[in-house]
């Protein structure tokens, strides 16, 4: 079982997240591996452990700081790490990013075939959930997205996906791109041995030239959308906080009535 997991370097949810020149500000101090990618790493590790053989590749795309995301994946137990970094990638939209990731996936796949690419359900900065679909389309591999359950047998992957109107079971031949939700599993914690090993582990660094991707096909220039303005929203005003000493419910009712909300 050979699995590649895509991981993203995103700002910590608790940090002061912001925009710089139309893109999300990412710093080494306030950033880490997207939390939902832990479920993707966990799903990959569980499949390899169950198969009794195999390897997990962690791949990230981003500037120099993004290497922290693959180091985190190594701490969790991934066997290999790849960091795709190239100034020309900056400002890519989801379709450009999918092109870069697809090229990296093919490079690994050409060395020895992969069975799966596993991603998280969303990155907690953008939250669009579009990348897994774009990647499956770009690779022309099976698309099994938003899996809350995943099984692999006889060259086929089967997922359960939970949509508001129905629970679907969908299956498809390998290789497949699978995105897993935060309900799919409970991610493990890194252990001391792996943390120490991850520090010294080698991370392959690939440029667009290494991937044979034309710089003009990605980056801000090729993006189909442009952020034209980003501004912090003003905090809520006239906020009230009371302590219930027997009249709290009445005060709440009066507030709602006055606001025309009740």
């Amino acid at each position: 079982m050979r699995i590649l997991v895509t991981v993203k370097h995103t700002p910590d949810l608790q940090s002061n997240r912001s925009f710089t020149e139309g893109t999300v500000t990412r710093t080494a101090e306030d950033g880490s591996m997207n939390e939902l990618d832990e479920n993707a790493v966990e799903a990959a590790l569980q499949l390899v452990e169950a198969a009794g053989e195999g390897e997990v590749y962690a791949l990230t795309v981003g500037g120099p700081d993004a290497v922290a995301a693959v180091r985190k994946a190594l701490q969790l137990g991934a066997h290999h790490a790849i960091h795709v970094s190239d100034a020309a990638i900056a400002g890519s939209d989801v379709f450009g990013t999918a092109k870069v990731i697809a090229a990296a996936v093919r490079k690994v796949h050409d060395e020895a075939p992969l069975d799966l690419v596993i991603t998280g359900m969303a990155a907690l900065d953008g939250l669009t959930s579009m990348l897994p679909t774009a990647l499956a389309a770009e690779l022309d591999w099976s698309q099994l997205t938003l899996a809350s359950g995943l099984t692999v047998a006889d060259g086929e992957a089967t997922i359960v996906r939970h949509l508001p109107d129905a629970r679907e079971t969908v299956s498809a031949p390998l290789p497949a791109v699978v995105s897993v939700t935060d309900e799919a599993n409970k991610p493990r914690y890194p252990n001391f041995k792996l943390i120490m090993a991850a520090r010294k582990a080698e991370v392959a660094t690939w440029s667009l030239a290494d991937l044979g991707v034309d710089a003009s096909a990605v980056g801000a220039g090729a993006a189909r959308t442009t952020v034209v303005d980003a501004s912090e929203r003003p905090p809520r005003e006239n906020r009230v906080k009371i302590t219930d000493t027997g009249e709290g419910g009445n005060a709440l009712a009066d507030f709602l009535i006055e606001k025309g909300l009740a």
């Binding site: 679909t133 508001p164 959308t225 952020v227 009712a253 009535i257």
Partner: protein, 316 residues
């Protein structure tokens, strides 16, 4: 500007967000409605016309159009002439429009709160980072796809209703690698759907698993019942009720958080709500950082008293 709106419908009924999307689409051009599945009833067609749809394009696809690649092919066939396609920003539609954009080269913005034409290009507004930032995005590609969040446009009928033409769209669905093995429908909850509700009353750990007061309060306010991840993890209430970044994102006019501490994952799914009310025993609960009206106290004391006062007020 030719604008197509992908209509969401269940058991023949047009969803309220679809009417909001038609209302928004009217500000961009002359909307046509795209309907996947069994043909709409005369009532549904009339309602779409009331909200400005000049045409209803029906692609009579079956359950295998649940696969994003197939659904995208159907939408593509029905929107060949459209410069803008508007959909409701659901998980399923995000996948469909991604595939659609791969087919057509369109630029996509999802989770939009609004859209307008600026110098011939569509510009969208979104709130990001748990609704702490506003972002405006221009779609540069010749074709634009906008996924709009429910409750971001006030649905209003067109000044003069139209009688839409119903047009059948022939679609040859592509072969896909994926197969739908089974579809187990989830029965629709009584009352309003969570993501469409104008009011959401949510309960968390502080309910201790007893949702009766939450339900009563939601019913009184005409809202839907939500829950925190803690509560769904405990099995107190089903996953469909979970409000949060990875559950349902809600933007009601009123959000009432009862016994919910307000972890960042929860806030990410409700922080863009109009008015936020919080009831929590812990005065330091983070939910109070974003509430317009906070009550430090027990929901078991506060809610019954509030219900009684509101009921008395209504009785006049």
């Amino acid at each position: 500007m030719s604008v197509a709106v992908l209509i969401e419908h269940r058991e023949g009924h047009v969803s309220r967000p679809s009417l909001e999307a038609l209302t928004l689409a009217r500000t961009l051009g002359e909307p046509v409605a795209v309907w996947l599945g069994d043909a709409p009833t005369a009532d549904a067609v009339a309602q779409l016309g009331e909200y400005g749809a000049t045409e209803v394009r029906v692609a009579a696809v079956g359950a295998d159009a649940r696969l994003p690649a197939k659904a995208a092919a159907a939408v593509a066939a029905a929107t060949e002439d459209a410069t803008v396609v508007v959909v409701i920003s659901t998980f399923a539609n995000k996948e469909i429009v991604t595939r659609l954009a791969v087919l057509t080269g369109a630029g996509v913005v999802v989770d939009a709160a609004g859209a307008e034409l600026v110098e011939g290009k569509v510009e969208t507004t979104q709130t990001v980072f748990a609704a702490t930032w506003n972002v405006r995005t221009r779609i540069d590609a010749e074709r634009a796809i906008v996924g709009v969040r429910p409750n971001t446009t006030q649905a209003s009928p067109a000044a003069s209703p139209v009688e839409p033409n119903v047009v059948d769209i022939a679609v040859e669905l592509p072969e896909t690698r994926e197969t739908v093995v089974s579809v187990e429908p989830i029965p629709q909850a009584d009352g309003v759907a969570l993501d469409e509700a104008p009011v959401v009353v949510s309960g968390g750990r502080g309910t201790g698993g007893d949702y009766s007061l939450i339900q009563d309060f939601a019913e009184l306010l005409g809202g839907a019942v939500g829950a925190s991840r803690d509560a769904t993890d405990e099995g107190w209430i089903s996953h469909e009720h979970m409000v949060g970044q990875t559950g349902t994102t809600v933007t009601p006019a009123l959000y009432v958080a009862c016994g919910i501490s307000g972890a960042v994952h929860h806030r990410g799914g409700m922080q863009a709500s109009g008015t936020i009310v919080a009831i929590n025993m812990d005065p330091d609960a983070p939910i109070f950082e974003i509430s317009d009206f906070g009550v430090v106290g027990s929901l078991f004391d506060v809610i019954p008293q509030a219900i009684e006062r509101i009921a008395a007020h209504r009785a006049g």
